[in-house]
């Protein structure tokens, strides 16, 4: 209660102070017909105490403008330390796309929940396999089925050695039928395998080398 009264008193005195100041300023310049109004710009609320209260972008560190070439730079491949594994690729592959995608989403969500940092999550190109059967009467092979192998990769940047058994246990318990799971270290070759080859460039480089 006391604090409330004290605040009221303080605000009352402050208001009185402000009013006094305003009155004195008005009395000081009675003749001038407010030339200040025309000189100032339209945004008169700059004098509001809360002006610029929502500004936050000036508090962020300066970022260099992104160039288009940077998008294809490889992220750092971490090496393993004594207590954590390096960059790992968890690859999920199978014939049924819904199962594969849902399982890779499950892995990603599980990592988020367990606090395992996920560096990247991407898909590798689909590989199509044609199953050819021999015809019953005759020697010609005919196409029996077309199987497509889909694969998704979840790249983990650092996996704690204590979290690893729990993580892999949960993954294996929830692995659906028909889906293969493989955990490998990430290498530069893996990264470059994702890009399309450029035969003309390679030809020219070979010529230059020769």
């Amino acid at each position: 209660m006391n604090t409330v009264f004290r605040k009221l008193q303080v605000s009352v005195t402050q208001q009185a102070f402000v009013l006094n100041q305003a009155l004195t300023s008005c009395r000081a310049t009675p003749s001038i017909q407010h030339p200040v109004w025309t000189a100032v710009n339209e945004r008169q609320y700059k004098t509001m105490p809360t002006h610029g209260i929502g500004r936050w972008r000036h508090l962020l560190p300066r970022e260099a403008p992104k160039k288009k070439k940077d998008r294809h730079q490889m992220k750092e491949i971490l090496a393993e330390t004594d207590t954590a594994y390096g960059t790992l690729n968890v690859k999920v592959s199978g014939y049924d796309m819904t199962l594969v995608e849902h399982y890779s989403q499950y892995i990603h969500n599980l990592c988020n929940r367990l606090g395992i940092k996920v560096a990247e999550s991407y898909a590798l190109p689909t590989k199509t396999t044609e199953v050819m059967l021999m015809q019953e009467q005759g020697t010609k092979m005919f196409v029996d089925a077309v199987l497509k192998t889909h694969s998704r990769v979840v790249q983990l940047s650092s996996l704690n050695a204590t979290a690893c058994p729990v993580f892999i246990d949960v993954l294996l318990k929830n692995q659906p039928e028909g889906v293969q799971l493989s955990v490998q270290e990430h290498t530069e070759a893996d990264f470059h395998a994702r890009f399309k080859g450029r035969p003309e460039l390679e030809g020219l480089m070979a010529q230059m080398g020769n």
Partner: protein, 293 residues
């Protein structure tokens, strides 16, 4: 303290390049584990002079599990939802190539049977006129009928606690009856830690010392997943031994080898059955890391 904890990730090279696949080919009931052999970093045994003797005897136990082979049956709500989603997807879907071909063939047949049929008007389809889509469907139906799937649940094998084929939809854990102190107790296979080896090697030794030969397992990581502390009753305590600490390591069964002798004190139990065999305080410690998914 007493047990040296080596670099946790020193065996990682071997662990990593391992591929788990879940296909029906190969041993029924086991995941195919393929691990490429990479040269393991040899662990140098560190000689610690004047190591403080701890009053606890250390043991390492292995929690060997066989993962479920088939997915569990859906609950009634899941079944109803699945049926509803299937119906919705069917109603929203478009016709596939095969179904379009069926319709075209049916339409062509009806045109051929009409009186004023002019065969020159039709496009030349060749093979499609000889082997109709309906014939293909019939041949596929025949093949499906000759396929016999194995039954998912076999009541007989489910009762047999020592068989590995029981309860294909759940994960099973290996229990062994071992001599502890005076009496025999059912617990996860354990053995005593010796100087100069890591706890994980102790756990591997515990697995190898079981009467069931040929149990091949892949250990998940070098870090233990649980610990159980047991203080001896006051009468048995001396200055050097106050009790035992058991560290548990998780391992996944990759190959079972020849079946064990029927008298071997081993059994495979589900998580819900563990309570019948384990002591309550031990069960509480084990419950924390055994996942009942």
């Amino acid at each position: 303290m007493a047990a040296p904890c080596r670099r946790m990730a020193s065996r990682s090279l071997l662990q990593f390049l391992s591929c788990f696949s879940r296909t029906a080919v190969g041993n029924a009931g086991f995941r195919q584990f393929s691990s490429t052999s990479v040269c393991r970093a040899t662990l140098m045994t560190q000689s610690v002079t004047a190591r403080a003797r701890s009053p606890w005897t250390l043991m390492a136990a292995v929690c060997l599990q066989r993962f479920p082979v088939i997915s569990a049956d859906c609950t009634p709500i899941e079944q109803q939802f699945r049926q509803m989603m299937r119906q919705m997807e069917l109603e929203k879907s478009l016709l596939s190539d095969h179904e379009l071909r069926l319709l075209e063939d049916a339409e062509r047949m009806s045109r051929k049977q009409a009186d004023d049929y002019d065969s020159d008007e039709d496009d030349d389809l060749g093979d499609q006129e000889i082997v109709l889509a309906q014939d293909l469907e019939d041949s596929w139906e025949q093949k499906l009928k000759s396929f016999q799937p194995t039954p998912r649940v076999t009541a007989d094998t489910d009762e047999d606690l020592t068989s590995l084929e029981r309860c294909l939809a759940d994960s099973l854990f290996l229990l062994a009856e071992q001599q502890v102190g005076e009496g025999k107790l059912w617990l996860l296979p354990q053995t005593r830690w010796q100087d100069g080896e890591t706890l994980r090697q102790t756990a591997e030794r515990a697995l190898a010392s079981l009467p069931a030969a040929g149990l091949k397992a892949t250990f998940l990581g070098n870090a233990p997943c649980g610990v159980y502390k047991y203080k001896l009753p006051k009468a048995a305590r001396t200055e050097s031994t106050v009790g035992t600490k058991v560290f548990f390591f998780k391992a996944v069964l990759s190959d079972s080898g020849p079946p064990a002798a029927p008298n071997a004190p081993l059994l495979w139990a589900k998580k819900s059955e563990l309570q019948r065999y384990l002591k309550p305080s031990y069960m509480m410690a084990v419950d924390r890391f055994i996942l009942g998914l």
